[in-house]
C-alpha cells in the first residue's frame, strides 16, 4: 500500500515537471500593483508633512531647520511598504516603486533625505501652505524630530531635561 502511495507521489511530481523559477539569472517581473520602496519626488513635494503624520511606522521625520528650510527624512528601516504616504500625499510626490531588491549591508543605504525650501508669507511671516491641505493633514506649527538619532519626537518639550524622549528600554537580562 505504502509503495503504491509512493509511486503515486512520484507520478504527481513527474507530472508537475520543472517549476523552479530562473530568478537570480533572470529578472522577475513583479505584479502591476506591487508596492516596493516609496520614492520621493523633490520637485513636487510641498513639505506639508502629511506623509510623516500618516506613516504607521513613523518612518518619515520632519525637522524644521529654520523658517525657510524643512528637512524630510525617510529612513526606510521599518517601512512596511504600505503605501499610506503615497495615498495621502496631496501633490502625488510619493510613488510606490517596484524596487524590492533593497538588500544591503548598511541600513543607512535606504535613506532618503529631502531639504525643502519653504517660502515665507510676506504678510504674516509664516510658511505659506494651502489652508485646506494644512487642515486636512493636521500639520500645525514646527516640528523637531530627532534627525541625528533618527527618532520621532512626539512633543517639542521632549528636548527639555525634565521630560526626556521616550528612551530606549534597557534590556533586562535575567
Amino acid at each position: 500500500m505504502s509503495v503504491l502511495s509512493k509511486l503515486k507521489e512520484a507520478l504527481v511530481c513527474l507530472k508537475a515537471g520543472r517549476v523552479t523559477l530562473p530568478y537570480p539569472a533572470q529578472a522577475m517581473p513583479v505584479p502591476e500593483k506591487f508596492r516596493g520602496r516609496p520614492i520621493f519626488d523633490v520637485a513636487k513635494c510641498t513639505g506639508c508633512g502629511g506623509c510623516a503624520n500618516n506613516c504607521p511606522a513613523r518612518e518619515i521625520l520632519v525637522f524644521d531647520v529654520c523658517q525657510e528650510v524643512r528637512v524630510l527624512q525617510y529612513l526606510g528601516r521599518r517601512c512596511a511598504y504600505c503605501g499610506r504616504c503615497a495615498d495621502v500625499c496631496p501633490e502625488k510626490a510619493v510613488t510606490m516603486s517596484h524596487e524590492f531588491e533593497n538588500a544591503t549591508n548598511a541600513i543607512g543605504d535606504i535613506k532618503q533625505r529631502i531639504e525643502l525650501f519653504m517660502s515665507t508669507c510676506q504678510r504674516c511671516g509664516r510658511c505659506f501652505k494651502e489652508p485646506t491641505t494644512l487642515d486636512q493633514l493636521k500639520m500645525k506649527g514646527y516640528r523637531f524630530d530627532d534627525v541625528a538619532h533618527e527618532r520621532w519626537v512626539f512633543r517639542s518639550k521632549a528636548y527639555l531635561d525634565s521630560e526626556p524622549v521616550v528612551d530606549d528600554i534597557k534590556i533586562e537580562w535575567e
Partner: protein, 178 residues
C-alpha cells in the same frame, strides 16, 4: 574583507538557521517559500538546519523582543564562527510598525550584530535570494542613500543691514549668514 571571507568560507554551502524572535510569521513564510521548489535555494547550497550549532548564518525575523531577547542572544552565541546574521523584514531591520511598544526593544541589531539587511514587510522571496546573493558577493547591492536639496545651506537671510544704496536703487547684497 567580510565579503572575501564570505566567498571563501560560504562559497559552496550556507547552512542557515531560522530564528523568529517575535515577528508575525509573514517573513517565516517567505523564507520557507525560498526553500520550495519554485525558488529552490538548495541549488545554491543553502540549507535550513534545525540547530544554531550547525549553522553558518542566522536569519532573524521579528524585532528584538523583551521576552525572546535572551533566547536570541543565546542562539547567536551558539553558532560557530565565522557567522553571518541576516535581518529579514522591517521588524528585524528597524523594529517594525510596533517599534515603540512596551514589549519591543527595537531592531535585532540591538542584541546581535547584523551583517545584512533585507527590508520589506515581508520581503519577496526574490528579495531574500537577492540579499543572500549580495552577502555571497554574487551581485552588487543596488541601494545607496539619496539626498535631494532644493536649496544650499546656509541660505542668506534678509538683513536690513545688507541694503546698499546704489545711485537711485537700493540693492540687497546677499551675505553668507543664517
Amino acid at each position: 574583507m567580510l565579503k572575501n571571507l564570505c566567498q571563501k568560507m560560504f562559497g559552496r554551502s550556507l547552512w542557515v538557521y531560522h530564528a523568529n524572535s517575535g515577528g508575525c510569521n509573514g517573513c517565516d513564510i517567505e523564507v520557507l517559500n525560498v526553500l520550495t521548489p519554485y525558488y529552490d535555494a538548495e541549488r545554491f547550497g543553502i540549507k535550513l538546519v534545525g540547530s544554531p550549532r550547525h549553522a553558518d548564518a542566522m536569519l532573524c525575523q521579528g524585532p528584538a523582543m523583551r521576552s525572546t531577547a535572551q533566547a536570541l542572544k543565546r542562539a547567536y552565541d551558539a553558532m560557530p564562527a565565522p557567522k553571518l546574521v541576516f535581518a529579514i523584514g522591517s521588524c528585524a531591520c528597524g523594529g517594525g510598525i510596533w517599534f515603540d511598544s512596551y514589549s519591543v526593544l527595537g531592531p535585532v541589531e540591538k542584541l546581535v550584530p547584523v551583517n545584512f539587511y533585507i527590508p520589506g514587510c515581508p520581503p519577496r522571496p526574490e528579495a531574500i535570494i537577492y540579499g543572500v546573493a549580495v552577502a555571497l558577493g554574487l551581485v552588487d547591492k543596488k541601494t545607496a542613500p539619496v539626498q535631494f536639496k532644493q536649496i544650499e545651506l546656509p541660505i542668506p537671510r534678509y538683513h536690513p543691514g545688507d541694503l546698499r544704496g546704489r545711485d537711485e536703487l537700493v540693492v540687497y547684497e546677499k551675505v553668507e549668514k543664517v
